[in-house]
């Protein structure tokens, strides 16, 4: 244990994801010894992010205004929505330059052991967006690991009655990894080679009407 302020800093750092007590201590002492101006800039960057950056009200990507630049960009296609787990996946897919439609950020993956089910993600908002008749395809780009696959299974089952083409990133992304670690070429290939998950879509698609925001989406 250290005195007051130093220990407080170590405790705060230790609460960050992926930082154990040892790393927290190392970072705290780095901050203590670092140039004061650098550290003031770090502190300001944190408070500015917390003040200014919110989530886009349409796609839930991080954004500095009501809606994000990707949702406002008129050159992008309104026909395809790419569903991802986190904002960092949007960055990864943008880097691949293989996609020019819109995004929907779920805010994570279904992970029952951590108490995260469909209700804890932005699934209901996705269904509401699909009331837009311009949308012809949804690409499920959840992580190629177990939680990501289970989330895709849930979404396929939930969205299939809407009669929209649903596709999943092509394999080539080995199971077990995080989408953000896929290189641009692999990711571009996975998007271009995406496969339809519902080859036997209903001949007469159900009428698409946006669900009211209060209706639960997880009933089967």
């Amino acid at each position: 244990m250290y005195e007051g302020a130093v220990q407080e800093l170590i405790d705060e750092l230790g609460r960050l994801p992926g930082i154990g007590p040892k790393s927290a201590q190392r970072i705290a002492f780095h901050i203590l010894e670092a140039d004061p101006q650098d550290m003031v800039r770090l502190a300001q960057a944190i408070s500015v992010v917390k003040e200014r950056v919110k989530y886009c009200t349409i796609c839930f990507n991080v954004s500095e205004s009501e809606t994000c630049t990707l949702c406002r960009d008129e050159r992008r296609s309104d026909e395809i929505i790419c569903v991802v787990e986190e904002s960092k996946d949007v960055v990864a897919i943008e880097r691949s330059r293989a996609f020019s439609g819109r995004y929907h950020v779920l805010g994570g993956a279904i992970n029952p052991i951590n108490g995260i089910g469909p209700e804890q993600l932005h699934v209901r908002e996705l269904i509401a967006r699909l009331g837009d008749e311009r949308i012809t395809e949804i690409i499920l780009a959840t992580d190629p690991n177990l939680e990501g696959e289970a989330t895709a299974t849930y979404l396929v089952r939930t969205l299939r009655p809407l009669g929209i083409k649903i596709s999943r990133l092509a394999s080539g992304l080995p199971v077990g990894g995080d989408l953000e670690y896929a290189d641009e070429v692999t990711l571009a290939r996975a998007i271009e080679g995406r496969r339809n998950t519902a080859p036997s879509a209903p001949a007469a698609p159900l009428v698409r009407t946006p669900l009211p925001a209060t209706e639960p989406t997880s009933s089967s």
């Binding site: 992970n111 690991n145 990894g177 670690y181």
Partner: protein, 252 residues
């Protein structure tokens, strides 16, 4: 890391195990929680598994049964190799109700084995059998889960009874259940606070406990729902903290 070769060999061990859960660690690593039939719950780092180039990543996913090579460290163990024995995870992610039922099994298994070292081997066999049944399909996942929960509790020393009275031993069938007492109670023993499930529910609970699938598969949805509630309440009575994934189980 200046571990000498001799101490490396001494501290390295192999074990079979079922992956219970994974946590992200640092940039690309994960902490893997493994249930081993010999060592109980083992937590170990798997390095680089979140990179899409990692072969180990696909193996060390929840529900998978693996043979792992682990190096013991001062604070954390490290998994250096793992071979897939049964890829149960692959079947479960394709069936959402089975995935949610399986998640509740993993969470319960971690709780029961973390507390009681003596029953680890039988608990492992029960979990393995239940995951294999779920992955094979053919039974409603919610009933596979309830049967597993009752038998896992019995194996942990909390065997319920849904036939004879848990207080006086009188042979049933009885019409009431008391959770704190551990199951069926006869008319004379019945304390206040007992519930009165339908006779079909009592028969189903007894079948779930013994694994009588002819009766379980034929049960009506109403009896299944009642049995699920009683099973869940019985589990929560014995485990202090709530089993989070139980709320997310999708039952038919």
């Amino acid at each position: 890391m200046d571990v000498s070769r001799s101490s490396f060999a001494a501290k390295s061990y192999r074990t079979r195990g079922i992956v219970l859960r994974t946590h992200k660690l640092g940039e690309a690593d994960r902490i893997i929680t493994l249930l081993s039939p010999e060592f109980g719950v083992v937590r170990a780092v798997a390095k680089g598994v979140r990179r899409t180039s990692s072969k180990l990543g696909a193996t060390l996913e929840p529900f998978m049964e693996v043979d792992a090579q682990i190096v013991a460290g001062r604070s954390l163990h490290t998994i250096i190799q793992a071979q897939l024995r049964h890829p149960y995870g692959q079947a479960l992610v394709a069936d959402y109700p089975a995935y949610t039922a399986g998640a509740a099994m993993l969470e319960t298994a971690e709780r029961l084995t973390d507390a009681d070292a003596d029953s680890i081997a039988p608990q492992y066999r029960l979990l393995h059998g239940a995951l294999a049944t779920l992955a094979r399909g053919g039974h409603e996942p919610g009933t596979v889960l309830d049967s597993y929960l009752l038998r896992a509790l019995a194996s942990a020393g909390w065997a319920p009874s849904f036939t004879h009275c848990v207080r006086c031993g009188e042979v049933g069938p009885h019409g009431a259940v008391n959770i704190p007492l551990g199951g069926a109670v006869c008319h004379d023993c019945r304390p206040s606070g007992s519930s009165s499930p339908a006779p079909e529910t009592m028969a189903l609970l007894a079948a779930l406990l013994t694994g009588d699938w002819a009766i379980i598969d034929a049960a009506e949805p109403a009896a299944r729902a009642q049995a699920a509630t009683i099973t869940t309440n019985y589990l929560q009575w014995h485990l202090e903290r709530a089993v989070k994934s139980l709320k997310l189980v999708e039952r038919q």
